[in-house]
C-alpha cells in the first residue's frame, strides 16, 4: 500500500509541475463550454430578411409586421423588383426573401387563395430550413386568426416542448460536452502519462521494481479520476450558472454516473497506452479515434436515429452515446436510476472490458 501511495504522490508531482497539463485539465472545459454555449447555437435570433411586396396592401403589411415582430427576423431591405433578389443573396447579409404576389389581399378575398413565395439561402441548409419553418408557422397562425372570424371549424394544435421549454441549444451541448471533455481528458491524459514513461526510459526502472502491473495502472489512473471528476463538477456548475441548464434529477446520481464514465475513459486511455510506445501516437489515437466518434457518433450533435443503418450500429459501440443518454435523462428529465440501468450496465461492461484487456496487454518486460 505504501508503494502504491508513493507512486500516486509522484503522479501528482508530475501533473502539478507541468503547467500545460494543468491548463488543458482545467482551462479546456471552461473554454470549450463557453465556446460551444455561445458560438454554436441552433437558435435563430435576428436573422436578416428582405421583403418584396408586390401588392402593398393591408394584409401583406400585417403579415410583414407579424414576421418582423416575432423576434426571429430583422428587415434588411425592402425590395422593389425581383431582379434584386439574386443580388441581396449574393451580398450575403440576407438569409431569406419573402415575396408577396400582386393583388394579394384582393385574391385572398375573392378566391380565398393568395400566393406568397419564400426563398431561402440554402448554402447553409439547416438555417434555411429553420427560417422557412418559422415563416410558415407565422403565416399559418395568421391564417388561423383570419379564419377564426369566419369559419366555425378549426384545429388548434397546442404545442408544449417537454424538458426544454424554450428549445435551448445549450441543453443539448452541456451533456454532449461533458461526455466529450471527460473522454478526452481522461483518455488522453492517462495514455500520455504512461507512454511518457516509456519514452523517457523510466518505465524500464519501474518494471525492474517490485511494483505490480495493476499497481502501476491504478496508480496512473487514480490522480486523473480525481481531476476529471473536478472537471465534471466545473461543467455542471458552469452550465447551470452561465447557461441556466438545470439538474432536474439527483445531483448525486449524476456525479456517480460521471465517475463511472470517467473510469471507463481512463481504462480506455490505459488500453491505448499499452499498445503504443510513443506519446505522439498515443495522442493521435486519443484525439482522432476518440474525439470524432464522440462528437459525431454519440448523438451529441446529430441524432443517431437519422443515420444510415451501418453508422447506427457503429454508434452502439460508442460509450459516450450511453453516457449522453444518461446525463440527459438525469439532468433534463429528472429520471431516477431505474430508467438508466441499461446504459449504466453497458458503461460498467465497457470499463471492465478495457481494464481486463489492459492488464492482459500490460507488458511486465520490454518489447
Amino acid at each position: 500500500m505504501k508503494r502504491f501511495l508513493g507512486f500516486v504522490v509522484k503522479e501528482f508531482y508530475h501533473i502539478f509541475r507541468d503547467y500545460r497539463t494543468l491548463l488543458i485539465l482545467f482551462g479546456m472545459p471552461a473554454v470549450q463550454l463557453l465556446l460551444f454555449g455561445y458560438v454554436i447555437t441552433n437558435e435563430i435570433k435576428d436573422a436578416r430578411i428582405a421583403i418584396l411586396d408586390q401588392s402593398k396592401d393591408e394584409v401583406t403589411r400585417k403579415i410583414s409586421e407579424k414576421v418582423l415582430s416575432s423576434g426571429y427576423f430583422l428587415l434588411d431591405k425592402n425590395l422593389n423588383s425581383s431582379k434584386e433578389i439574386e443580388q441581396v443573396f449574393r451580398n450575403g447579409n440576407v438569409k431569406l426573401v419573402l415575396i408577396f404576389g400582386a393583388d394579394f389581399s384582393k385574391n385572398l378575398d375573392k378566391t380565398g387563395k393568395a400566393k406568397v413565395q419564400i426563398i431561402g439561402d440554402a448554402s447553409d441548409p439547416n438555417t434555411a430550413n429553420m427560417l422557412v419553418n418559422y415563416i410558415q408557422g407565422i403565416l399559418s397562425n395568421y391564417l388561423i386568426s383570419l379564419n377564426a372570424e369566419k369559419a366555425p371549424m378549426q384545429i388548434t394544435p397546442e404545442v408544449r416542448m417537454m424538458y426544454n421549454g424554450q428549445m435551448k441549444g445549450v441543453y443539448m451541448f452541456v451533456p454532449g460536452l461533458m461526455a466529450m471533455l471527460l473522454m478526452l481528458i481522461s483518455a488522453l491524459m492517462t495514455s500520455l502519462s504512461i507512454t511518457r514513461e516509456k519514452e523517457l526510459g523510466t518505465m524500464e526502472l519501474l518494471l525492474v521494481s517490485p511494483l505490480k502491473p495493476i499497481q502501476i495502472i491504478i496508480g496512473k489512473v487514480f490522480p486523473y479520476v480525481f481531476l476529471a471528476f473536478l472537471d465534471a463538477c466545473i461543467i455542471i456548475i458552469l452550465g447551470n450558472t452561465v447557461f441556466g441548464v438545470p439538474v432536474v434529477g439527483s445531483v448525486a446520481l449524476l456525479l456517480l454516473e460521471s465517475l463511472l464514465f470517467i473510469c471507463m475513459a481512463l481504462s480506455l486511455g490505459i488500453l491505448i497506452s499499452t499498445t503504443t510506445s510513443s506519446q505522439q501516437i498515443a495522442m493521435m489515437l486519443s484525439l482522432v479515434a476518440l474525439m470524432l466518434p464522440t462528437i459525431l457518433l454519440s448523438g451529441f450533435i446529430f441524432p443517431v436515429e437519422n443515420m444510415p443503418l451501418i453508422l447506427q450500429w457503429l454508434c452502439y459501440f460508442m460509450p459516450p452515446k450511453y453516457f449522453i443518454t444518461i446525463i440527459k435523462s438525469i439532468m433534463l428529465q429528472g429520471n431516477g436510476f431505474r430508467y438508466i440501468v441499461f446504459e449504466t450496465g453497458i458503461l460498467v461492461g465497457f470499463t471492465l472490458l478495457f481494464i481486463l484487456l489492459s492488464v492482459k496487454k500490460f507488458k511486465v518486460r520490454l518489447s
Binding site: E204, L205, S209, P210, R365, L366
Partner: protein, 304 residues
C-alpha cells in the same frame, strides 16, 4: 554460489542476432566488466539479467533464481542503472530518491549508510530538479537510486558515458567501495581505461564474448610485439604505415600509432627510413607493453 550464472544465452531480434552463445559467471562480491563497442550486445545482455527481456535460448540465473521464471523475486534483489538517464527530471533529487525507496518498500533513512558516500556529494542540491543536474551528478543520483533498496547485485549499463574524467574516477572509487561491502557488480563501459579497474573483464563484440580474464592477464595474452610511433602528422602517418604489407594492425591511440606485424617485426631502423622517405619529421618509435585496448583491437580483427 555464483551471483550471476549465464549459460549459452542467445537472443535474436527481427533482423540481427544480438547475443550469440554467451556464457559467464560472476562471483559474489566481484566487480565484473563488459567492454565492447556500441551495438555489441551489452544492453541486451543486461536487460536479460534484469528480467526485462527473455532469452531465446539458454539459461540465466541471478542469485540462483531464473530470470524468466522467478523474475519477481529477482526484481527485489537487483539494482539497475540503465544506459540512458532514467530518473524523473521534473522531480527533485530528494523526491526521486524517496520515490525509489518507497517503491522498493524501504526508506532513505533505513539504508542511508549504503549510499552516504555517494549521496552526500549531491545532497547540497537535493531541492534541485533532477533534470537540471550535471552529467556526473545525474549518474551519482541514479546510482543512489539503484542502491537505495540494498540490492545484492548491481547492474550498471555504461554508467560513466558522457561524464567528465574526474567524476568518472570518483564513480569508480565508489564502485570499489560497494564491491568491498559484498555487492556483486556487473558494469558495461566503452572506456578501456576503466576495464583495468575491474576484477575480471569480458570483451564482447557482435554479440559474442571473445575473452574473459582479469585485466592483467588480458594484457599477457597479447600475442605480438607492439610498437608506438609518433610523428608530426598523425593522419598521413597512419596512412603510410598501412601501406606496408607486413603490417598486422595499425591503430590510432591519441597522438600516436600502435602497430603490430603479421610475422617477424620489421626493424626500427627500417621503419624510420621508410617514414623519412615519406616526408615525416620528429619520428619517435618505441617498443611498448600492450594495453587492454590493444588486446581488444587485436581480438576484434581476429575473425577476419
Amino acid at each position: 554460489m555464483f551471483s550471476i550464472l549465464v549459460d549459452h544465452i542467445e537472443k535474436h531480434f527481427t533482423r540481427v542476432k544480438a547475443l550469440n552463445d554467451i556464457s559467464f559467471t560472476v562471483d559474489k562480491g566481484e566487480l565484473f566488466g563488459f567492454i565492447g563497442p556500441d551495438g555489441a550486445g551489452k544492453t541486451t545482455l543486461f536487460r536479460i539479467l534484469t528480467t526485462l527481456l527473455i532469452p531465446d535460448h539458454g539459461k540465466a540465473l541471478v542469485n540462483g533464481l531464473d530470470v524468466v521464471k522467478d523474475f519477481r523475486k529477482i526484481r527485489q534483489d537487483i539494482g539497475y542503472m540503465p544506459g540512458k538517464f532514467s530518473l524523473y527530471s521534473d522531480l527533485t533529487v530528494e523526491e526521486n530518491l524517496n520515490f525509489y525507496a518507497t517503491v522498493f518498500g524501504t526508506t532513505v533513512a533505513e539504508n542511508y549508510d549504503l549510499i552516504r558516500d555517494i549521496y552526500s556529494q549531491i545532497e547540497p542540491f537535493k531541492k534541485r530538479m533532477a533534470g537540471k543536474l550535471s552529467g556526473g551528478m545525474k549518474q551519482k543520483l541514479a546510482l543512489s537510486c539503484a542502491l537505495i533498496h540494498k540490492p545484492s547485485v548491481l547492474i550498471l549499463d555504461e554508467p560513466t558515458t558522457g561524464v567528465d574524467a574526474v567524476s568518472r574516477l570518483e564513480f569508480w572509487e565508489m564502485l570499489k567501495r560497494l564491491k568491498n561491502s559484498g555487492i556483486s557488480i556487473v558494469v558495461a563501459t566503452p572506456y578501456m581505461d576503466e576495464a583495468s579497474l575491474c576484477d575480471r573483464v569480458a570483451l564482447i563484440q557482435n554479440g559474442k564474448i571473445m575473452a574473459i580474464s582479469p585485466p592483467s592477464e588480458v594484457i599477457k595474452t597479447y600475442p605480438r610485439q607492439l610498437f608506438s610511433i609518433k610523428s608530426d602528422d598523425i593522419f598521413s602517418l597512419l596512412n603510410d604505415l598501412r601501406q606496408i604489407p607486413q603490417m598486422h594492425t595499425v591503430f590510432a591511440f591519441g597522438q600516436s600509432a600502435h602497430i603490430s606485424f603479421k610475422q617477424e617485426p620489421l626493424t626500427e631502423n627500417f621503419l624510420y627510413e621508410y617514414l623519412c622517405k615519406k616526408g615525416h619529421s620528429n619520428i619517435k618509435i618505441s617498443h611498448i607493453q600492450a594495453t587492454i585496448e590493444d588486446c581488444f583491437m587485436d581480438l576484434m580483427i581476429k575473425p577476419q
